[in-house]
């Protein structure tokens, strides 16, 4: 537990580091990190045009939906894919300097949030151009993001360790995430599934998606959304705690 305490206390270092990472990645480009915004924005626009046509709705109707879906999904998958390799990627640091492993996780999580903040610009643009009925539900998105932060941390610690030990797991996760993109309502709506709506009901990532996407669109997430997210969070934290207590000592030797 010592490591987690030290790590959480070092959040300022992690934030500074995450910001440096983002800045350095685009240092020699003219518009810098705005490339994140542009590339995601282009994808959203392209998919928006195609799928609004396919589903027979208007662009103004569909674009806010797919935009919030895509940027939220981007954050979720970033946290999963990067969380899996967080310790593997920090091998040198973890075995050669006195650095809390949890600091590495925080650095990774903050980096994902910085990317998300860049993508929020696309949402603001969509709000300005197409108009979204923001409501009293909208601030709830902050609560949703806070839950993402918590989830990103425990997931990174837990799966960072598992993936350091079993090097096939990151590949499995990446593939699962890719598959889940299609079975999660991001560019289509749950009601389109008709009687097969259970595909979304049993998909925990759908519920995670909803607690941020729905508020951004001005709607309240359902009780089921909050319930599933709360259950996963509690279960995840307990599992991480047990796993950390038993196996953290071995992490350095798995790297």
């Amino acid at each position: 537990m010592q490591d987690i305490r030290t790590g959480l206390r070092s959040w300022r270092l992690a934030l500074h580091w995450a910001w440096m990472d983002t800045k350095l990645k685009y240092r020699r480009s003219v518009i810098g990190p705005l490339w994140i915004t542009i590339s995601v924005g282009a994808t959203i626009l392209g998919m928006g045009v195609v799928f609004s046509t396919l589903w027979g709705t208007t662009l103004g109707d569909f674009l806010p939906y797919i935009c919030t879906g895509m940027i939220t999904w981007g954050l979720i998958t970033g946290l999963i894919n990067e969380g899996a390799v967080v310790f593997i990627n920090s091998e040198n640091l973890l075995t050669q300097i006195n650095l809390s492993a949890t600091t590495c996780v925080l650095r990774m999580v903050f980096r994902q949030f910085i990317i998300f903040m860049h993508n929020i610009l696309i949402f603001l643009l969509v709000v300005l151009v197409f108009g979204v009925d923001l409501s009293s539900a909208t601030p709830l998105a902050a609560l949703g993001l806070l839950l993402y932060l918590v989830t990103g941390i425990w997931f990174g610690i837990l799966f960072g360790m598992i993936c350091a030990r079993f090097r096939d797991v990151p590949q499995v996760l990446t593939n699962l995430v890719q598959l889940t993109f299609f079975i999660t309502p991001i560019f289509w709506k749950p009601e389109m599934l008709g009687e097969r709506v259970f595909i979304t009901t049993y998909n925990p990532l759908f519920h995670f998606l909803e607690i941020v996407r729905q508020p951004l669109l001005g709607h309240y997430p359902s009780a089921a959304n909050w319930g599933v997210v709360a259950a996963v969070t509690v279960l995840g934290i307990i599992t991480t705690w047990l796993f950390h207590r038993h196996f953290f000592k071995r992490l350095k030797y798995w790297l």
Partner: protein, 250 residues
């Protein structure tokens, strides 16, 4: 008072190479590699890197680790620094530790010299005000001038090492652990930096050093530990230890 006390420390490093598990049976592997390999309680193949190490390092100690490659010097340093938790045994350590194993680790090539001073300083646990105090001192020592405003990618390797070294020695620590040449290359580097290094070390209360250079060892250490196959062969003054080390080599 700074100290590190080890009691019956063992370090077993598991071998997870997927191929060796599948293709070569454990018995074959053990026969090939010999003494250092064994099978632990959970029937995993492990390399026994340190075996039953008990060692007291107290305030004022200037300890050198002697032994040939693979003797366990680096692993022991990592245990002393708290980076590796031992498989068995206890480590009782008091004092702020500065592990100098690879001092340029964490440097960002695209960041400027100043940005790196800030980033590395924070990584070493320094607060912003401490870094502010250290900056003029680092500017002085490195003599990099305006280069500090350029990305370190543009530095020569010598300039880079000077900067890394200046940052690593910017703040004194109770316990200093130095591995080989800290990635700094050779004894020539020490020539240029010995004044600063000497000052840095004299302000620390405890030093553990490993280097293949007997000359450096004699310069900085008063006592030595001879490691052989992960075990302590002897602890004593430098002459005794080097005499014994010579015998082992024959």
């Amino acid at each position: 008072m700074a100290h590190i006390r080890l009691r019956n420390v063992n370090v077993d490093i598991p071998v997870y190479d997927a191929r060796s598990r599948r293709l070569i049976s454990k018995e074959v592997l053990l026969r090939r590699i010999g003494g250092a390999m064994k099978v632990d309680r959970d029937s995993r193949v492990v390399v026994s890197a340190l075996h039953d190490i008990s060692l007291d390092i107290e305030q004022g100690d200037r300890l050198g680790l002697v032994g040939h490659n693979g003797a366990g010097k680096t692993t022991l340093l990592r245990v002393l620094s708290g980076i590796y938790p031992p498989t068995d045994g206890t480590v009782d350590s008091f004092g702020q530790v500065a592990p100098m194993f690879n001092i340029s680790l964490g440097m960002e090539m695209d960041a400027t010299g100043y940005e790196n001073i800030h980033m590395m300083g924070r990584l070493l646990g320094m607060e912003n005000d401490e870094i502010a105090v250290a900056v003029p001192d680092i500017e002085d020592f490195t003599e990099l001038g305006d280069y500090l405003t350029l990305p370190v990618r543009t530095y020569s390797s010598g300039m880079l090492m000077r900067l890394a070294f200046a940052i690593a020695t910017a703040r004194t620590a109770d316990i200093v652990l130095i591995d080989e040449a800290m990635g700094a290359g050779d004894a020539a580097f020490y020539e240029k930096t010995q004044e600063r290094l000497g000052r840095f070390l004299s302000e620390s209360s405890l030093l553990v050093l490993t280097t293949h250079s007997e000359q450096l060892m004699r310069k900085f250490c008063t006592r030595a530990v001879l490691l052989h196959n992960g075990k302590i062969e002897m602890v004593g003054d430098l002459d005794e230890v080097y005499a014994k080390y010579g015998e082992l080599l024959v």
